[in-house]
Amino acid sequence: MEYIVEMLNITKEFPGIKANDNVTLQLKKGEIHALLGENGAGKSTLMSVLFGLYVPEEGIIKVRGEEVHINNPNDANNYGIGMVHQHFKLVHNFTVVENIVLGFEDTKHGFLQFDDAIKKITDLSEKYKLKVDPNQLISNISVGMQQRVEILKMLYRNADILIFDEPTAVLTPQEIEELMNIMKDLTKEGKSIILITHKLKEIKQVADRCSVLRKGKYIGTVDVKTTSVEKMAEMMVGREVSFVIDKEVAKPKEVVLKVDNISVYNHALKKNSVTDVSFEVKKGEILCIAGIEGNGQTQLIESITGLNPISNGSLTLNGIDISHYSVRQRNNSGVSHIPEDRHRHGLVLDYSLEKNLILQTYFKELFQHKGFLKFDEIRINSDDLIDRFDIRSGKGSTTSARSMSGGNQQKVIVAREINRDTDLLIAVQPTRGLDVGAIEYIHKQLIAQRDAGKAVLLVSLELDEVMNVSDRIIIMYEGENVGEFDPTVVSENELGLYMAGSKRSDQ
């Protein structure tokens, strides 16, 4: 019996959409099998079917050659299937060991017994080189270690079919390297791995075979060693994709935004989340703030856009001190902001597309008269933007933002912010969670804005993006600016060391 898991001709339908249409996935014992596809291609649905969260309309699942019915995650656990979710499912105020045994606790007379569990966890972590401290609280350990806890959780439950859902999204280059080695070690011990990702580089690095999904349909399975990255990208997107971003050398002109010794105090944690950060953004350049998530980038941007007050320092926009301006005053004096979390900040999901497109401009003369909205103008505006930015939706201007795909939601925000035609465009992780096609599109838009003479401030966690798009790089670590780099000179590895805090330049 060659295959350990076979999902044959799976069809799963949701109202109005076939999320999986006759998809077949065959996992060999001891291999790393990549599952590649754009957002919304049906990867997560397929894995949810395997994990028992959805029941497919058609198709059969075989585990170790026997046909099985997986109706809930407990069934999946019993068949030895474990999943590391993209967003870790950990209890933050529990210790590592408490999290690992959660649901499988040993008790004696009704009291929890951790001794055996700790021993088993220590054995496992030695065997698979998964370094963790069992008695630490989850909230005190790094993201990389949290992921190792998730992996240990599966191993503790004796899973030998492991699903990794976008595991590298939150890791530094060094941590990614480490994870790749762990995955290889796991397969040497006879575990089989399904790796869900849209990062081709990683697939090339670790996977043995790769199955590609596009728009819910099964495109094919290829041998990774003999297939080029370009070929896989083409299978995923359905057309040729350019990985190199064409852009000319930046021609920076006068300073637009001057950030001078800014500090932001976090009252909850009683410490600075941003400490003495200074930089300038000029017209005609893209300045990128790189760093690992949670090193003060969010707070820094919130202080520039006015969502969060600064405790120290000053902000100057086009020569005007805006340190104490309200959000609206800043918007009106020339700040556009593509926010980090498009659902939380960027969109009112229950509003229609056209209403989302006037979120910061509804009070302008163009869209209202004596307090009454001008619906005709709003419709003209949205039809125009839908056309220009190729926003796709079910019902055009009246589509509710909630029902749109992530890529198109992001396009709505990009269209709105670019259309406001301000001197400074702040984009925070504008490509987060988007597929290759949409990423390409947004990068082009950012560069077009730069070429049109705008100052662009980009915050990104993706090193590829940092290297390809930006003209200048600043790295933040623990709320401080630890170095400035030229992307044409510096290496990814070098940046990784700064991001992890093991190096810093003293300017």
């Binding site: 109202p15 856009t305 006015g306 969502l307 309200s326 959000v327 609206r328 005053q329 800043r330 918007n331 902001h337 926010p339 939380r344 900040h345 960027g346 969109l347 009112v348 999901l349 229950d350 509003y351 209403k355 979120l359 910061q360 509804y362 009070f363 869209f367 209202q368 307090g371 009454f372 909205l373 509710s400």
Partner: protein, 440 residues
């Protein structure tokens, strides 16, 4: 400017004509035939026929303009269907309860509930009368809810509004001698202002001190209740009956000729005020930048902050408006002949019913209007239920079950969508079958 007005008149000629015709039928014509029952009957028939015909015409027009309309894709229809299922669930539960309590009379009694306010002319008028405060408190809760605030203090605002209205009605008779209508208007305005001020307190606390509006407004209910007792006894007490003095006749809500159309019932002009408020709130919520902001704050406070909206100010405004509407409800409730404010230390239940009505009406002004009338109808059913030796409390149980069922709305909607889909598929298949048949 004139050009605009003219265009508007031409474009909406049908709507305006029908509106004017209905206005004449309801408010003007009946008074000339007050003693002629058969002509009144004809007038009522005309009103129903015109209104019904107009709605039917609009539906046909909609079908014609949207030939590809799929019910399952319309959020409104799915929501409404969810509410209707909730109502049916509640009624069914009531029927079961009645079968347990008194099997012999159960079906007769159930029929009375279904008849509700449509039993006769009097019950129809009473239904409207009783639903006015419920509609208004429902609107109050719904409006705050659209801004993301849970105004559980409608009772307190209603109490303050009622006191202010009655106080002005009793003490400011001078205005009444000058103009009766003005006296009523001032009393109503007093109610609105008192309710608005009472609503502003939790709004200000929420906006500037981040005090949970549920807690602060529920506590203010008790403050209002005791304050009401204290102020009645101090200023407008009728010792003989241990209740507040009756407002002067000039302050009583005008009947607006509705009693000609619906004789012998308690109907008054309050319903007209309620409908005007429905329309105003609908316009505020859906047509203005203010409503755009309020709803944005309600849907997603973070996004409204990001967009530079002043969410603190909006919270205060929303609570002020919500309180004003609840206060108005109080004013209309007690500016009635034969109804007296009492120093009883009891929370006025209409405020809490408003929460239920707001839920059932999907927090939309027109939805609340319909839900409020439905509630009034059930109440009338409960009243006549006593003929079958049931207690009217069964109605309250039915309402409670309906509210539980609407809270399960999401769960119910799943079934609704499925049923609608099935129907659409059947409809889609029919033409194909025909084609196949013709091939054969």
């Amino acid at each position: 400017m004139w050009e605009k007005v003219k265009n508007y008149l031409v474009a909406n000629a049908l709507n305006l004509n029908i509106g004017f015709f209905l206005f004449l039928l309801v408010f003007i014509i009946p008074q000339f035939f007050a003693n002629n029952d058969s002509i009144l009957l004809v007038i009522r028939g005309l009103i129903v026929a015109t209104g019904g015909g107009y709605i039917f015409y609009k539906l046909l027009l909609f079908r014609k303009n949207n030939p590809n309309f799929k019910p399952s894709e319309s959020k409104l229809l799915v929501d409404v269907a969810g509410s209707i299922i909730a109502i049916l669930t509640g009624l069914l539960f009531g029927l079961i309860l009645m079968l347990i309590v008194n099997p012999g009379q159960a079906f007769g009694g159930f029929f009375v509930i279904l008849q509700g306010g449509f039993r006769n002319i009097k019950s129809f008028g009473d239904m409207i009368y009783f639903s006015v405060p419920i509609i208004l408190t429902g609107l109050s809760v719904a409006f705050a809810f659209r801004t993301g605030l849970f105004n559980i203090g409608a009772t307190g605002q209603l109490t303050m509004g009622a006191y202010a209205a009655v106080y002005i009605g009793v003490k400011w008779g001078v205005i009444g001698e000058f103009s009766p209508f003005l006296h009523w208007l001032v009393a109503i305005l007093g109610a609105i202002v008192a309710g608005a001020l009472w609503g502003a307190i939790p709004g200000l606390l929420k906006a500037y001190r981040n005090v949970n509006e549920v807690v602060s407004s529920i506590m203010l209910n008790y403050v209002a209740m005791y304050l009401n007792t204290m102020l009645i006894v101090k200023y407008i007490y009728n010792r003989d009956f241990a209740r507040a003095l009756a407002p002067k006749s000039t302050a009583v809500t005008p009947l607006m000729n509705l009693h000609y159309l619906l004789p012998n019932s308690s109907v008054s002009g309050g319903i007209v005020v309620a409908i005007v408020v429905v329309i105003i709130l609908h316009i505020i919520l859906n047509k203005t930048t203010f409503g755009y902001e309020l709803k944005a704050v309600g849907f997603n406070r973070d996004a409204s902050k990001y967009a530079g909206m002043n969410s603190k100010r909006n919270i205060v405004y929303a609570m002020v408006i919500s309180g004003a509407v609840a206060g108005l409800a109080g004013g209309l409730m007690y500016l009635v002949d034969g109804k007296f404010l009492q120093p009883l230390n009891v929370l006025i239940p209409e405020g809490f019913t408003g929460i239920a009505i707001s839920l059932l009406g999907l927090s939309s002004p027109f939805g609340v209007l319909l839900a409020g009338l439905f509630y009034g109808s059930l109440k009338q059913g409960g009243f006549y239920l006593q003929l079958y030796s049931f207690t009217p409390e069964i109605i309250d149980i039915i309402i409670a079950v309906i509210i539980y069922a609407s809270a399960l709305g999401l769960f119910l909607q799943k079934f609704v969508i499925r049923a609608m889909k099935k129907r659409e598929m059947l409809i889609d298949q029919k033409p194909e079958e025909a084609v196949e048949g013709s091939d054969a």
